[in-house]
């Protein structure tokens, strides 16, 4: 047996080797939670189209402890998604130049987070602000 056995660097668990890769993986895995929330809403829309009884069954489901626990997890993951989305935005968008100076990364991130804050407050007021 004279076969060559060249060293091949194993790639198993490559993303656990480095903090940078861990952050990358955490950011990518938020996608599963975004899909999960979309499916919860999709179920609600299907139930809504089936009439009052069906929709109220879906609402009862939302009131269960499991659902509230799931949404607490979703909330934490979505907050992380908001943070990570705007922290990588300086790298994913083309360079922004204002009066000859490149806008620094932190300013882009801060502007994005500020937009998210304003949009969220507007949504909250639209949903909860009107007394009925």
């Amino acid at each position: 047996m004279a076969a060559r056995r060249p060293y091949v660097r194993p790639m198993d668990g490559w993303w656990r080797r480095d903090r940078f890769f861990l952050k990358y993986m955490a950011r990518e895995l938020t996608a599963f939670f975004v899909v999960a929330y979309a499916l919860v809403l999709l179920a609600g829309v299907i139930r809504l189209s089936q009439g009052r009884g069906a929709f109220e069954g879906w609402l009862d489901g939302l009131r269960s402890g499991w659902s509230v626990a799931l949404h607490l997890v979703l909330l934490a993951v979505f907050l992380f998604h908001t943070y990570s989305w705007f922290s990588i935005m300086p790298k994913t968008m083309p360079p922004l130049v204002v009066s000859g100076h490149r806008v620094p990364a932190w300013a882009i991130t801060a502007a994005g987070l500020a937009c998210a804050g304003v949009a969220s407050i507007a949504l909250f007021l639209a949903f909860a602000g009107r007394p009925r």
């Binding site: 929330y37 809504l48 189209s49 009052r52 939302l62 908001t82």
Partner: protein, 116 residues
């Protein structure tokens, strides 16, 4: 020259990522926590009347469809490309498992909203 099919998927990924980053956390809080627990009294009560009235307006339909569809396309694109990082071979099956779910969800949401 063969054209890449990537731009439309990337666009949907970006739009969904931006929408979920802007209002996703607040949506989860309102629909999944505040409304079911009645945290802010009658104003946030989630009732059949309120949901149906919202989904009857064209803009309401558009908003609900946009959230569901864009969140699904965002997730599908990201999961598909992350599978590769875990050493999963990308083929027609994995493509369908990701983008097919997003497409089916989009069509289902559109049909349900049209019926509402």
């Amino acid at each position: 020259m063969k054209r890449s099919t990537q731009p439309p998927f990337w666009l949907l990924f970006g739009a969904g990522g931006m929408l979920s980053a802007l209002v996703g956390a607040m949506l989860v809080f309102l629909t999944g926590i505040a409304a079911p627990l009645g945290l802010f009294g009658a104003g946030t009560a989630f009732t059949y009347e309120r949901a149906a009235a919202f989904a009857h307006q064209p803009l309401g339909k558009l908003a609900v469809a946009a959230v569901i569809a864009l969140f699904l396309w965002h997730g599908a694109h990201r999961i598909y490309h992350t599978l590769h990082d875990f050493g999963v071979r990308l083929n027609a099956f994995t493509w369908l498992a990701c983008y097919g779910v997003a497409l089916a969800g989009t069509i289902t949401a559109a049909v349900a909203l049209a019926v509402v």
